[in-house]
Subunit: 252 residues, 2 copies
DNA sequence: ATCAAAATCAATCACTTTCTTTCAAAAACA
DNA sequence: TGTTTTTGAAAGAAAGTGATTGATTTTGAT
């Protein structure tokens, strides 16, 4: 087997799994440990991966230390661009639903429309919304500690009292066939009801959510418009997706 | 398992739950306590989390807003004493209602009862309640920007779904004839309903609220027990009042 | 408040796994 | 064939792991 074939196998496995064990690589390639180790050293020199005890992982973007911090800020900037785009769809006098989550929270600073009414199931939405002077209503119900979202029967009942011009939702997965999905079935149920109560529905998704599926589906692709960021690595996927729904994309 | 995978699991659990116990992590990862401890030390060095006795928590964000903090410290000690006394009435398995406001919020750190359910109409109550691991439900409805209280028709409707062992309420006025009162009629309405839905009702009042009346009455003196602090200047008033209702007082 | 019991922690040891270094055999190339 | 490159194996070094011990902190009861 040629050297570069092994390298390709290693990098491909790494892309799939984010971290790989040395034994995974020896099995996948049929080469000995020594050989794989030498491959890893070469690939690390080429900055294609980072060697860790027991295997390898994807390289950290910048100098080793502020990995997480960078990730957060980069992530935050993407969320803000998506939030700004989403906010631009809100018009004066609209009644809107804002799902719990950081994506929808990022919309608030960019909302310029006047006299709007906000309904939300997200604890994190309430304070920023009030601070900006919006009339704000919340669904009641059980508070899920992880996402600070109101879920359950009471939340669903509350939702039936409202009709929205627009609903904005977060998601954990976007897939052409499975549609939009999220890990918690209870949260999915609320999202579903919110979409039903809205004339227009928008799903906000950063690039990491594309081509993913999560446990509970809450809408099919054509039930809501997708608001996301167009990156080179997702461009093809989004193009295919655009046959099934509206896509509003910003470029970084 | 690779070290990095464990680290990811730890951080993910932490994001979900805000605080994690060591035993949670050993179960989730299958690693020993020693290993998890070492992981936590590494992650703390990397500022990814803060180690606490028994586990880990998210690193403290930014310092709290000075205005709110200042406001709290002024009345903090009296409120805490009252809160502690009020919390002592809560028993294992109770379902309790906590009114919006700082007085009731001050109870939370002192609640020792297990398996309680908390229902509240106060945004400020939710996060501290979740942080202490209580099952928490909120009323829905309109959010009043001043007090961060949920009020209005929806809140009232939500309230009808619950029955409480005990309800704890704030007040702006305590008067032998006019009873307990508060400036906002909408908030008064919610308080009234909460008292009706509870087997026992407690009103928390610091000394500044005694011998005061406010615009909207929500209960007469004998509808609820009063929890307050006995100071020399209010001693006489409280003695007179004790003919009409139960008074639970702490001394400074 | 004070004390004892329980839980949690830090430090250490023995053991396992993984890593580096080294060397010789196999493969590739001229 | 002779030379270079690649490969696999082996030995000692380094790192990671789990269990144990005694110290520290927290909890509960008096």
């Amino acid at each position: 087997m040629l050297t570069y074939e092994r390298h390709d196998i290693i990098l491909e496995l790494l892309r799939q799994k984010r971290t790989v064990k040395l034994t995974d690589l020896t099995e996948a390639t049929g080469a000995s440990e020594s050989t794989i180790r030498r491959d890893l050293i070469e690939l690390e020199d080429a900055q294609k991966l980072k060697r860790i005890h027991g295997g390898a992982s994807l390289p950290s973007r910048k100098s080793d230390e502020p990995t997480m911090l960078d990730k957060k800020t980069v992530f935050a900037e993407e969320k803000q661009r998506i939030g700004k785009l989403a906010a631009s769809f809100i018009e004066d006098g609209d009644s809107i639903y804002l799902d719990a989550g950081t994506s929808t929270e990022a919309m608030l600073p960019f909302i310029e429309a006047k006299d709007i009414v906000i309904v939300t199931n997200g604890l994190n939405i309430v304070e920023p919304a009030l601070q900006r002077g919006f009339r704000t209503y919340v669904l009641g119900g059980y508070v899920k500690s992880g996402t600070l979202a109101f879920i359950g029967r009471t939340a669903a009942e509350s939702l039936k009292q409202y009709r929205f011009d627009k609903a904005f939702l977060g998601t954990n997965g976007v897939d052409p066939e499975f549609g939009f999905s999220t890990p918690d079935p209870e949260e999915a149920a609320i999202k579903q009801l919110a979409i039903q109560a809205a004339q227009q529905a928008f799903v906000l998704a950063d690039a990491s959510k594309l081509q993913q599926t999560s446990f509970s589906r809450f809408a099919s692709i054509h039930d809501a418009a997708l608001i996301t960021e167009i990156k080179s690595e997702t461009e093809l996927f989004l193009e295919q997706l655009s046959e099934h729904t509206t896509i509003e994309g910003v470029k970084p």
